[in-house]
Amino acid sequence: MTLVAKNIAVERGGRVILKDVNFTLQKGQALILRGHNGIGKTTLLRSLAGLQPFVTGQVDADMDTVAYASHADGVKSQLSVWENLEFWAQTYGTDLSDDVLESFDIADLKTRRAATLSSGQKRRLGLARLAVLPSKILLLDEPTISLDAASVRLFADFITAHLAKGGSALIATHIDLGLPDVEELDLSPFVTSADAPNDGFDEAFI
């Protein structure tokens, strides 16, 4: 499953912030998005996930195989850990097994209500959702927020296994995940120049 982005431009708050972004995400490949805060990593991922339209350009990928995980975990606090994952399994028509909980070290919390979880545990539950999905292309926005070093390793193991199965991942992160041979995509060359200084003449007034 490959994802090819051609000359895409994305906007936030009515301003184009990245343009002429080109990259190819190959089967079995992980691509790390780099760039300072506010450069547009989240906006790019949201656009690729189909949550907002591109200004220009196009993306070649089978959208049914794309899964997106945002800053928020999307965990329902009144449901138990198992019920949360079960819902996503049913939505995507897959089976949920205890192995998923084991691999993210939340098997002990299976029947606990998500409201009682710590933020790191909640994050692991949010990431465990990805293991339930049949999706091949993962778009992950800061997946390691509030995770400790051990949990980051669990997550890296999951990504490695996912890549080995022929999946791919586009990850926005600031830390080193410790993944073997990943490629990086630095977004700074694609930043649009700041708005031209206003010389007192505004077309909108005409």
């Binding site: 907002q52 928020a72 819902f87």
Partner: protein, 218 residues
Amino acid sequence: MIALLRRDLRLAIRAGGGFGLALAFFLIVVVLVPFGVGADMAVLGRVAAGVLWTGAILACLLSLDRMFALDFEDGSLELLVTSPLPTEGIVLAKAAAHWITTGLPLSLAAPVLGILLNLPPHGAVWMVISLLVGTPALSIIGAFGAALTVGIKRGGLLLSILVLPMYVPTLIFGAEVARRGSEGVALGSSLVMLCAISLLAVGLLPFAASKVLRINLK
């Protein structure tokens, strides 16, 4: 879709889900009316249908702002929209869950509360029928309103102002069915119109609501 419906129903009956709130609110509104209007049985019998319908509409409104707002806050709405579920299906499942937790119990409780308002027994039958036919329209119109206001902090009040005018046709024909039923006169076209409103709303509004939802998630 079934999974989403089941999840929403489960959330509604869990602590803090708000199931029963609408019903309790309906009860209180209806009980307040005789205090305000006075205990004249003839007057109460005449206004019963209108009071029950107005009470049901206000009770429906109570839980609308939670429909998408809670999922929006914890991020699950974005995940749902990017899932293989069609957005129209998400709206329908949410509206169905809202109807099962408010519209349905309200319809079934109405004849019992009708006793307090001197609603005649044959009127109670038409009261239940009119509410059962009309409340699905309330839930789906409400879903559209909730989709419009989803990103807005404390959008509940705005939601009420947007949604209440849209409830007017349902209220007119719903109360008309119940009133004519309790007076024992021919229903005329009122029941047909009520059915038409519900069917049109259920058929068209999920598409509008899904479009609005996607715009609000941008």
